[in-house]
Symmetry: C2
Subunit: 340 residues, 2 copies
């Protein structure tokens, strides 16, 4: 593990896709905790589409990362030194600890995790982290799936989408996933049990949706926005629910992107479009964890983690989300896991 604290700091507001020059690589002395603080060694850094939003100057749902600041990011790490009465060395914690090897925290920015060897540490950044919460509450609370309904999910092979589709199946829906490669389509139908998959890069999404959703679309779990949202809106049923979880197709846009041209269909179909952010559900985490944990250990949910090695590769890893080259939940490994 690193003897210095290597960091990626934000150096410039990106235009379009992130470039490495949008970050500054900094190497600092590992900080020492003061009284009431802990020193954390970061082990895994979550890689999420929302990072691209945080790099913009505009206020979104959280303040932007300022130029010169350590890039914000979700991390699982281990406490190396504690001067805080609630924590001790060896505790595994999670928090927005940033793109760096080590972090200092006063206990308010971290939560302690179970040391359960049956749970891979990366799961706390995925199925038991933001991805799981987003999939669970987005689908259950906003999508409100009913047995026999048709659910369409975009970015269906991603960390959120792959869970949404599987939960939809558990709830008795017909599930159609949209993804960006034949490999991904094969995976979600053959391994995850989706009823059908559409490769949006090689198929007409509109025609394939008509074919795979003969009874129309009741729920659309949208991770991408843009053209696919518009295409889906053409085929929604009365009282359809559109769950806005992300709009990854638009995060790199430098100009505002027009909304769907068939927006009037929301009126005609008396549909509901609702945005949500997992932060809104933090007080209900246990609800989700109970169901997700049960389904996972019963073998009814599969969850794939794609691990990129080394902090140096973090900027590149974010772009993998946008070019679709990741397979499942993407994390960057910063240092070795402890053995218990």
């Amino acid at each position: 593990m690193s003897k210095i604290n290597r960091q990626w700091r934000l150096a410039a507001r990106p235009e379009g896709l992130i470039r490495e020059s949008d970050f500054e690589w900094r190497e600092e002395v590992i900080p020492s905790p003061s009284e009431g603080q802990v020193l954390i060694r970061n082990i895994y850094l979550s890689i999420d589409p929302t990072y691209r939003i945080w790099m913009n100057e505009e206020e979104s749902y959280m303040p932007p990362v300022q130029i010169g600041e350590i890039m914000r990011g979700g991390v699982v790490g281990i406490i190396e030194e504690s001067r805080h009465s609630d924590f001790e060395a060896g505790d595994i914690v999670q928090g927005l600890l940033g793109w760096q090897d080590y972090a200092i925290d006063d206990g308010t920015g971290i939560v302690k995790l179970l040391k359960d060897v049956s749970i891979p540490m990366t799961h706390y950044l995925g199925i038991f982290g933001g991805n799981g919460l987003a999939a669970y509450f987005g689908l259950m609370d906003i999508g409100q799936p009913k047995e026999g309904e048709t659910l369409v999910v975009s970015a269906a092979a991603g960390g959120v989408g792959s869970l949404v589709g599987q939960i939809g199946k558990i709830k008795g829906c017909r599930v159609v996933g949209i993804a960006g490669s034949d490999d991904k389509c094969d995976w979600i139908t053959n391994e995850l049990g989706f009823d059908a998959a559409i490769n949006y890069k090689t198929e007409s999404v509109s025609q394939s949706l008509s074919r795979h959703c003969p009874d129309g679309i009741d729920i659309y779990f949208d991770n991408v926005g843009g053209e696919i949202l518009e295409t889906v809106l053409d085929q929604i049923n009365l009282h359809a629910r559109i769950v806005l979880c992300g709009m990854i197709s638009q995060y790199n846009a430098s100009e505002p992107v027009p909304g769907p041209r068939n927006f009037v269909n929301v009126l005609y179909k008396r549909a509901r479009i609702e945005g949500f952010i997992v932060l809104d559900y933090l007080d209900r985490v246990m609800e989700a964890m109970t169901d997700l944990g049960t389904w996972l250990f019963e073998g009814r949910l599969q969850y794939k983690v794609d691990i990129v090695d080394g902090l140096k590769n973090a900027p590149h890893a974010v772009n993998m989300l946008f070019d679709g080259s990741n397979r499942g939940k993407l994390v960057v490994k910063l240092s070795e896991e402890p053995s218990f």
Copy 2:
């Protein structure tokens, strides 16, 4: 009253604003009811923006009116002759009886109205008709107003908007209306009690909204769609509710209109956009009527009806909705009211 049955039939699909040549004027013999039917003399024809939708070829929330058919429209009339056991001559009824002097019905397309001289007959096409239901359920069910919240309503001097704002005040909201003339703005603030009004033809809607909604916008009751929707979306609060009741700005468009360019704000603000149609609430009519009736007779609601004389003027009357020259709920008077 007419000795013949004069009718407007749909002759062509309009492009843009309606022209009289989109209709054919027909004069027919007054029909005779068969066994199980009634003959109705139409008295008032409701004029609604949705007529423009029904004239298009595309399926919306109801089938389009076919070329050659009598134009569809909501009517209050009086039964002149009954061969149906549930109705007798002199009964006042309401139904989609069309743009004509007389209609035949088998009882399934009409409902009998109270003969209460304290209720103007036109109210059944307005505050006790679709307008009242739309305002009541759209605001209460979808908008879910809470005391102290800020409600913005467009087409605020119209049949629906003027009620929405007043119900919003009854529910303790700060209410800001958007309308198309200084006269209308004066009316809704001075007479109806709106807190502020914005003339979208002479003011910057964005700047005026900022000024009149210092705490942001919690509910937007949208009757117009288009640019004003986009402007409002820029200023919504977390968990805002956008009630899509109509999109009058787009009904005359010949090309699909792009949705709001700041659509991503629905995600950032975890907002909800929901379309609805009063038809969905027919089984809950009494809920609305009870509250609306109480408020009306307590003097807490005002409702203005703008009466255009003569069936001949019906096509022109529809365009008055789009150029904004109506004042309140618009109806066309087809024949004389009976005296009770």
